[in-house]
C-alpha cells in the first residue's frame, strides 16, 4: 500500500500530495499543483519527479511531460537559488523594465535564462506578473519587488546575496 512506497519528496510534501489527489472529482486535477510544488522542493522537474508524479496520478510519464512543456513556470533544469524574473511587458517597459533587465544582466554578469557560476542567481525576462501599477517589477522566486529603480534593484540583489552566504 501507499505507506510502503518510497518517495523522493520530503514526508511533509508526500503527505500533502496524498491529500491533494483526494480533493478533486478526478485525480488528474492534482497534476499541475503537484508538479509546481514538487519543483519548489526539488528545484526543477527532474525525471524522478515526472516518474513519481505520473505514478501518483496514474497517468503515463509522457502525459506529464506534455503538461510540463506547456506551462512557463515549470522548468526541467535547475536555476539559481534566487531566480530573478524581470518583467518587460508594456507597463513595466514604460517605467524602465528593459533598463532594469539590462542592469541585472550587467550586475550579475549573466544573460537571459542564465545562471551565475556560483549558482546563486539566475536571470529571466518574463511576461506580465500583475504588478503594472507598481512598475517596474521583479519577482525573485515567488517574492515581488516593485516600484524599482536600478539603485533599489542593487539593494534587492545585495540582500539576496547576503542571504545566500549565510
Amino acid at each position: 500500500m501507499a505507506a510502503e512506497k518510497t518517495t523522493i519528496f520530503s514526508p511533509e510534501l508526500a503527505a500533502r500530495f496524498d491529500r491533494l489527489v483526494t480533493l478533486y472529482p478526478v485525480k488528474r486535477s492534482a497534476l499541475i499543483p503537484m508538479l509546481l510544488y514538487a519543483q519548489d522542493e526539488v528545484g526543477y522537474i527532474s525525471d524522478a519527479v515526472v516518474a513519481e508524479v505520473a505514478e501518483r496520478i496514474g497517468i503515463a510519464e509522457l502525459d506529464v511531460r506534455n503538461v510540463v512543456s506547456y506551462y512557463s513556470l515549470m522548468r526541467t533544469k535547475l536555476v539559481g537559488k534566487y531566480h530573478v524574473q524581470v518583467c518587460t511587458n508594456i507597463a513595466c517597459m514604460l517605467r524602465g523594465g528593459n533598463e532594469l533587465l539590462h542592469h541585472c544582466s550587467q550586475r550579475l554578469g549573466i544573460g537571459n535564462k542564465q545562471t551565475t557560476a556560483d549558482g546563486v542567481f539566475s536571470l529571466e525576462e518574463v511576461e506580465c506578473i500583475g504588478a503594472c501599477s507598481w512598475a517596474p517589477a521583479v519577482q525573485v522566486n515567488y517574492d515581488f519587488h516593485e516600484n524599482l529603480t536600478t539603485e533599489l534593484m542593487d539593494k534587492v540583489l545585495d540582500e539576496y546575496r547576503a542571504k545566500a552566504s549565510k
Binding site: 506547456y70 533587465l101 511576461e127 506580465c128 503594472c132
Partner: protein, 437 residues
C-alpha cells in the same frame, strides 16, 4: 506589496474591507461578512439570479457579459454535478486588480463563489489563481480552511441542507489559461488549450458538468450586491453597467495605482485628476484603456465614460480595467512589438491564424524596429492582423490582432518613419535588448 490607492472620487464597494484586517475571518464577519450568503440561503435560486440581473453587474474579466444572465444559462436539472469556477488567472498586461482582492479580502471571493453555487445548484467551487501569485494562494488556502473550521463550508453550510466545497488551485504560468475553457482544461490537469464552443461552459464545462466561470472581481462583487442591495449597486454605475470596478492605472502617470471608481467614470478625468496627470508634465500620446488586447485611443478620444458600452462606441474595449498611459516619448512601433511579443509567446499554438499570425507580426514589427523593413511590411501587418480576427477558437487571436490594427491605423506615419533602412528613428534599437527570439 500591492495596495489600493485612494482619491476623493473613489467609491469603495469591492474594496470596502481593504485595509481593515478582513483576511481574518472574525473580522470579516464583523464587517458584514458572510451575511449575504446567509440571505441567499433563504432565497430561491431564481430570485438570486434576478437580483444579479437587477444589479447590472457585468464580467470584470474583460468581455463584460452580464453576470446574472450568465448564471441563468445553467440548466436547472443536470445528471452531472455543476461547478463554480473563479478565474483568478489575472494575466492581461496592464491588469493587477484581482491581486488586491485575494490579498485584502479573500473571504469575499469565497462568499461570492458560494452565492453563485446556490444560484446554479452547484456543490463545489474552484478558485484558480495564477501560479506567480503564490503568496496569495497561501492567503486563500488559509481563508478556505478558516471557513471550513466555522462550518461555513463543507456539509450543511450554516446549518442548512446545502453542501459546498471550495478548492484553491494554482496555475503555472500561462496567459491562455485565463480563457474559460482553457482554464477548465488546466484544472483537469492538462495543457491549457481552449475547447471548441458550443457547447458553452454553462452546459458542458468542468468535468463535463454545467459550469459558471467568473472573474475573481466579478464574484467578489456579488456579496456586496446583496449587502447594499442590487438596485443601489446598479445606481452607482451607468445604464446597463452597474456598480464600480477596480481600474488599474499604469504607465506614464504621476500616481499609478489601482482605484475603485464608478462604472462610467470619465477616462480623461481618471488620467488627469485621479492619477495626477502625465508623468513629468509631458504630453499624452495614447491610452490603452482595457488591458493590452484592446485598440489604442488617441488623446482626443479619451473624453469618454469608462463603461463597456461607451468605450466600445469610442472604438475600443473596457476589457480588464487596465488603463495603460503612454506619453509623447513612446515609439508606437516598439510598443506594438512588445505587445505582440507577448501574444506570440502565449499563443497555445492550436489555431494556425493565431500561432503563425503572431509570429509573422512579431517578425514584421521587429524588422521595422531594428531596420530592414520595406513598404509592404506595414500593409502586411494590417493584412495579417485583419485575417486573424474571428478566425480562432478562442479570443487570443483577436487579442493580438485588435491592438495591432489600432496601432497601424492610428500611428501609420510613425510606422512609415521606420522605413529608413535603419530602424527606429526615435529609440535606436538599444543594445540592452537581450535576444530572446
Amino acid at each position: 506589496m500591492a495596495y489600493l490607492t485612494t482619491h476623493p472620487d473613489v467609491v469603495p464597494v469591492v474594496s470596502y474591507r481593504f485595509g481593515k484586517g478582513a483576511v481574518d475571518i472574525d473580522r470579516y464577519i464583523e464587517l458584514e461578512g458572510y451575511s449575504s450568503v446567509r440571505k441567499c440561503l433563504e432565497m430561491e435560486p431564481d430570485a438570486i439570479i434576478n437580483e444579479m440581473k437587477t444589479s447590472g453587474l457585468r464580467g470584470r474579466g474583460g468581455a463584460g457579459f452580464p453576470t446574472g444572465m450568465k448564471w441563468s444559462f445553467v440548466p436547472k436539472q443536470s445528471a452531472k454535478p455543476k461547478y463554480v469556477l473563479v478565474n483568478g488567472d489575472e494575466s492581461e498586461p496592464g491588469t493587477c486588480k484581482d491581486r488586491l482582492i485575494f490579498e485584502y479580502d479573500p473571504h469575499s471571493v469565497i462568499e461570492g463563489t458560494m452565492i453563485a453555487g446556490l444560484a446554479i445548484g452547484a456543490k463545489m467551487g474552484f478558485i484558480y489563481l495564477r501560479g506567480e501569485y503564490r503568496y496569495l494562494i497561501n492567503i486563500m488556502e488559509k481563508a478556505v480552511a478558516a471557513a471550513y473550521a466555522k462550518g461555513f463550508l463543507g456539509k450543511g453550510i450554516f446549518g442548512s441542507q446545502h453542501d459546498f466545497d471550495v478548492v484553491v488551485q494554482t496555475g503555472a504560468g500561462a496567459y491562455e489559461v485565463g480563457e474559460e475553457s482553457a482554464l477548465m482544461e488546466s484544472l483537469e490537469g492538462k495543457r491549457g488549450v481552449p475547447r471548441i464552443k458550443p457547447p458553452f461552459p454553462a452546459v458542458v464545462g468542468l468535468y463535463g458538468g454545467p459550469t459558471v466561470i467568473n472573474n475573481a472581481e466579478t464574484l467578489a462583487s456579488v456579496p456586496h450586491i446583496f449587502r447594499i442591495g442590487a438596485a443601489e449597486y446598479a445606481k452607482l454605475g451607468t445604464e446597463r453597467n452597474g456598480g464600480t470596478r477596480l481600474f488599474c492605472i499604469s504607465g506614464h502617470v504621476e500616481k499609478p495605482g489601482v482605484y475603485e471608481l464608478p462604472m462610467g467614470y470619465n477616462l480623461k478625468k481618471m488620467i488627469y485628476e485621479v492619477a495626477g496627470g502625465i508623468l513629468g508634465g509631458k504630453k499624452l500620446k495614447a491610452v490603452v484603456p482595457g488591458g493590452s488586447s484592446v485598440p489604442v485611443l488617441l488623446p482626443d478620444e479619451i473624453d469618454i465614460g469608462m463603461d463597456f458600452d461607451q468605450v466600445a462606441k469610442a472604438g475600443s474595449m473596457l476589457g480588464s480595467g487596465g488603463v495603460v498611459v503612454l506619453d509623447e516619448s513612446v515609439c508606437m512601433v516598439e510598443f506594438a512589438l512588445r505587445t505582440i511579443k507577448f501574444y506570440r509567446h502565449e499563443s497555445c499554438g492550436w489555431c494556425i491564424p493565431c500561432r503563425e499570425g503572431t509570429d509573422w507580426l512579431q517578425k514584421s514589427l521587429t524588422r521595422l524596429h531594428m531596420g530592414g523593413a520595406v513598404d509592404k511590411d506595414i500593409n502586411n501587418i494590417q493584412y495579417i492582423a485583419e485575417n486573424m480576427l474571428g478566425r480562432t477558437f478562442c479570443p487570443l487571436g483577436d487579442a493580438a490582432a485588435m491592438p495591432t490594427i489600432g496601432f497601424v491605423k492610428k500611428f501609420r506615419k510613425e510606422f512609415e518613419d521606420h522605413l529608413n533602412g535603419k530602424g527606429c528613428p526615435y529609440h535606436p534599437a538599444a543594445d540592452y535588448e537581450l535576444a530572446t527570439v
